[in-house]
């Protein structure tokens, strides 16, 4: 996609000493991120495996407990995250087109959307705490007629919680990118951090796209 010609090597001040040219640096960074994403998938994979097993054991529990989750707000959050993936992609495109100002704007929108996601998540969680839906042994809600209802919500809190942590880390990265883009570090010759953070952000988005139907849309 990007045209990293060999002339790139003299232009970039972010070129590291141990690489031969900017192409090699860019390829290495991108590959490293892809491999890291594989480990992330397996990291979540353990929880998805637990989900599959418990859903197979207690199918009726999952149907019952799912009704406690607010599909509307879950849906809004899905749209918000997909939107943020789009703006990250646009930030990369702006970098490729050398539109430095647009990089910053798109990153700022991404950051804002991520914040919206977390705020909605915050209200969802506090509402549940309010009515006594806590994870594990602290579970005290009586609205679900199933003795193992706590298991569903333990998985819910663990998986959305871990996803939430990834969103927060992503926000940190976006803020750092925004700062760097405001200082004019990125252009069509060098935008590796934007590209690989974008990859990470897409993964966070995709994981939510799995979590949403698995928890909210059971019937």
């Amino acid at each position: 996609m990007a045209n990293h010609s060999s002339s790139a090597s003299e232009s970039s001040r972010f070129m590291q000493h141990h690489f031969v040219d900017a192409d090699q640096q860019f390829d290495a960074a991108k590959m490293g991120m892809w491999i890291f994403l594989v480990t992330e998938i397996l990291f979540f994979g353990g929880l998805f495996a637990a989900y599959v097993i418990y859903r197979a054991w207690y199918p009726e529990l999952f149907t019952l407990a799912s009704e406690e989750l607010n599909t509307l707000w879950g849906g809004v959050n899905t749209v918000v995250l997909i939107g943020s993936s789009l703006t990250v992609a646009m930030a990369i495109k702006s970098a490729q087109l050398n539109q430095k100002k647009n990089i910053a704007i798109n990153l700022a929108i991404t950051l804002a959307l991520a914040a919206v996601f977390m705020v909605i998540k915050y209200f969802e969680w506090t509402h549940k705490f309010h009515i006594g839906i806590f994870p594990g042994e602290f579970y005290s809600f009586e609205g679900i007629d199933h003795p193992k209802a706590n298991i569903f919500f333990s998985l819910y809190y663990l998986m959305t919680g871990l996803h939430g942590i990834h969103v927060v880390i992503g926000m940190g990265l976006m803020a750092w990118l925004l700062w760097r883009s405001l200082k004019g570090h990125f252009d069509s010759e060098y935008y590796t951090p934007v590209e690989i953070t974008g990859l990470y952000w897409h993964l966070v988005d995709i994981i939510w796209i799995f979590l949403f139907p698995l928890f909210y849309l059971i019937d």
Partner: protein
Amino acid sequence: MDTAESSSNLKKIQVQRFKPDDNPDNHYLNEETGLWSWLTTVDHKKIGIMYLASITFFFFVGGLMALLVRTELWTPAKTFIEANTYNQLFTLHGAVMIFLFLVPSVPAALGNFILPLQLGAKDVAFPRLNLLSYYLYLAGSFIAIYAIFSGGIDTGWTFYTPYSSSTGGAVTTMTFGVFVIGFSSILTGVNFITTIHKMRAPGLSWDKLPLFCWGLYATSVIQILATPVLAITLALVAMERILGIGIFDPALGGDPVLYQHFFWFYSHPAVYIMIVPGFGVVSEIISTFSKKHIFGYWAIALSSLAIAFIGFLVWGHHMFVSGQATLASMVFSFLTFLVGIPTGIKMFNWTATLYKGSIKLASPLLYIFGFFFLFLVGGLTGIVLGSIALDVHLHDTYYVVAHFHFVMVGGMVMAFLAGLHYWWPKITGKMYNETMAKIACGIIFVGFNVTFLPQFVMGSQGMPRRYFNYIEQFQSFHQVSTIGSYILGLGFLMVFYYLVKSIYRGEQATSNPWGSRALEWQISTLPPLHNFHHTPVIVNGPYDYHKPMEEFQLGLAESGNGHGHDADLEVTKEGEDLSAE
């Protein structure tokens, strides 16, 4: 960079010969000095040395615990410590040795130092990430040590639930420590895979990649695929203790056997994280000291990958008596036998490499022969344990203890020591005392067998593992084993003594004391800060001992450029015998 015409698939480049300098004035240890330069270094060689120092420390900590455990077992009842102390000691011995020593030993310590040198690269792909890995490892180690002093853990290194979620002590802290170390391991894996893919010197095609790199590659694949699952599993144990989430707790509707599936999904492949890089070391040393091309290059390279992949499908063989379905046991047993085959193939290939070689029985090779015997016993007893009916009898007895010590200590530690002795001149620029090295190797070999052979007999007789008290029938076996452990400890101390002594009093090493054809020996000793003053060009494989040394010392005539993966190079030699200036 192309001097002559470059056709579509054949590139002509101009090269010259670079002779390594035996004792250069400037090298990686004196170009930057001071404590701060070490703590903030991104040089893979220095990071490798920091790992080496750390794992050596933890090896002796774990070893001391082993000696205390063995001493306690001198008598059938209490010898000198309480049952609870004993339980904590064997847990920590296992956890320290596995997570703090074995997993990082060859990949993070030797691998860090050697991998970029063998690839002709200036560093790993992500030097700062590499330093971060080291600090994560260090942080995780400190958390683990803190756990020892803030209550200890007595769960066994396997953290089986529901025991681990109900017992007292600092289990939560310990799992967090292992979690952090896990990330160190993952990042090292990411770094190495990227490095091997993207940082190879011109001409270094996949079929010329040294087998040590293949070993590290397979290891890294396991690290990135298995470690995250361990991380999430241990996080779940911590959540179980903090929040009582009930995933593994039968009282809350969970399943304790599920934990074992999760745990072994990581921890069986983790066994290969510990042993596969050792295989790489063996290939390098066998070839160098018999001055002969490795036999069956592709068989050895691909069998490492085969082990890495099949290794993911055999975890259930730890659970034949756990209550898992009979059919599952059958499948896992079958796959376990399949994973034995690539390992056997390697043994045969290494033996065949010796045929018609020019064998010099120097200390690294001696350690390798120690590896051969011990690993063979370890591997074959693995076949015994893979057989379901036999495992039903031998599971959780001393037979299993002896088996994995033969693989992990007999196999991996011997391979690690062999590698350490082999690369020691390149790392430190000094030669150790060869006679002492050979004596120490003998002591370790004898001590190891005296320690662990009796355990096979005890285990077959039915002696369960993790026992504080035992019935008197086993006392003589235990006493022989304990004496063996002292001999073994003495052997390791001796290695430590003469290696450290060599740094201060050792003879100066030449750049290539073993006459190896591998790339890391074609640069000066000590290596320069950025490894290569020139960009090396690879025309021959690392095991082409039938060709003269000169053909292995080629670099780009115009230095400073030219990394890439041009498989087809036509080399024009100019300026023969130019030195590295």
